[in-house]
């Protein structure tokens, strides 16, 4: 028999989750309310989404993007989803099924761009062509496709499911390498610019464990298995390291990230990080680029023959 002695901080009913960072336990109802409140705060604080704007959610079939899509709906922000097929065998097929099932059950619009069908290459093909870690090619391709789709289809803002753990891990990586340019541009809300849609991260105040719990409690089925191509990557190592710190000292991840945003980001963003790079349209796809072809089109040129072989 299982008993749950912890009580919800709000109503004193049995708790289903303990959040040491908040020194609080919550029942299902008040945990969902907590998640809604954190998303509302994030959107308001950084003016991420204005009333009436068209929102495109980057949907992967994982917990974060589906939780984000669900939470936006709960706080009356209608949004469409875009799923990008990466061509990672069964993993991609299964992820697509989770995204599609959620959209169908909730009556949402899910757009699909398939890298193999629409651009002639897959992420395994791109990784083989570049002989580099697949996560770099994957991130580059998704950023390009989400941005281009938003611009082409009149969406005002792209919302991604990056959570507190994602952002803290990225911050740790940028600090370890003192990458001032990336630090200057790491922010929950990146404004629109010529060739770029606005990009926002409404989950930056919520942890990865909170997002997984939200999906379990709200009966949202998601891709639980890790991407087979991400195993052992550096970003996952940063997350594990930060969770060791968090276990010993609850609140460390939030203090690290929120402290950066409150005390350091603006100084870096004012131009101390280095000179602005001049961008012009890519001659192939029109995306802003500092060089000749943009990074996505260079990747595609190298990956198409390898994917086809």
């Amino acid at each position: 028999m299982t008993r749950v002695p912890m009580k919800c901080r709000v109503c004193r009913e049995p708790a289903v989750i303990d959040l040491r960072r908040h020194n609080a336990n919550f029942c299902r109802e008040h945990f969902v309310a907590h998640c809604e409140e954190q998303v509302r705060r994030a959107i308001k604080h950084f003016r991420m989404i204005a009333p009436g704007e068209r929102v495109l959610v980057a949907v992967s079939g994982g917990k974060d993007s589906l939780a984000l899509w669900d939470l936006l709906g709960r706080i009356d922000i209608p949004a469409d989803g875009l799923y990008v097929g990466l061509g990672i065998d069964e993993y991609s097929d299964e992820s697509h099924r989770y995204a599609g099932a959620y959209a169908e059950a909730r009556g949402r619009t899910l757009h699909v761009v398939d890298l193999a069908t629409d651009h002639g290459f897959t992420i395994p093909g791109a990784a083989a062509a570049t002989r580099r870690a697949p996560c770099g090619a994957c991130g580059l391709s998704k950023r390009h496709v989400f941005n281009q789709f938003a611009l082409d289809h009149g969406y005002d803002v792209v919302a991604t499911g990056h959570n507190l753990d994602d952002e803290a891990a990225v911050l740790l990586g940028n600090v370890l390498h003192w990458d001032l340019d990336y630090l200057a541009r790491q922010h929950p809300a990146l404004p629109a610019a010529p060739g770029f849609a606005r990009k926002v991260k409404p989950l930056y105040r919520l942890g990865e464990r909170e997002m997984a719990a939200y999906c379990v409690l709200e009966r949202i089925d998601y891709q639980v298995e890790e991407c087979p191509m991400a195993a052992g990557n550096r970003h996952l190592g940063y997350k594990e390291t930060l969770n060791e710190l968090e276990h010993r000292s609850p609140g460390s991840k939030a203090a690290f990230l929120f402290g950066f945003l409150e005390r350091a980001h603006d100084q870096l963003a004012r131009g101390d990080a280095g000179p602005e790079v001049e961008l012009h349209p890519c001659p192939s796809c029109g995306a802003p680029t500092p060089g000749e072809l943009c990074a996505f089109c260079r990747l595609r040129e190298r990956a198409i023959p390898v994917t086809a072989s």
């Binding site: 028999m1 299982t2 008993r3 749950v4 002695p5 912890m6 708790a15 289903v16 989750i17 303990d18 336990n25 994982g62 917990k63 974060d64 996560c135 770099g136 994957c138 991130g139 580059l140 998704k142 950023r143 941005n147 991604t160 990056h162 753990d165 994602d166 891990a169 990225v170 990586g173 940028n174 990458d179 990336y182 541009r185 790491q186 922010h187 990146l190 770029f196 990009k199 990865e208 464990r209 997002m211 997984a212 719990a213 379990v216 409690l217 639980v224 298995e225 890790e226 991407c227 991400a230 990557n233 550096r234 970003h235 996952l236 997350k239 594990e240 969770n243 060791e244 968090e246 276990h247």
Partner: protein, 71 residues
């Protein structure tokens, strides 16, 4: 207790009863990195687990594609 673990997916038989806290310590898992689900219900760190419980320990860490690049 039947305990399902992921990444890679595998199942263990562990004698109960015990607590979530003790089970995670025995498996050397960080409570910050997992959820514990009994049947299909989420349970807190101090919940007691019966000897005949079906338990899933679900990792919550994921991803890696966007490591650090803002645009």
């Amino acid at each position: 207790m039947k305990v399902l673990l992921r990444n890679p997916r595998r199942e263990l038989e562990i004698p109960g009863p015990t607590t979530v806290h003790a089970l995670l310590a025995r498996l050397e898992l960080n409570p910050e990195s997992v959820l514990v689900i009994v049947g299909d219900e989420l349970v807190t760190n101090d919940a007691r687990l019966a000897d005949d419980a079906d338990i899933e320990i679900r990792p919550v860490i994921s991803g890696g594609a966007d490591a650090g690049v803002p645009r």
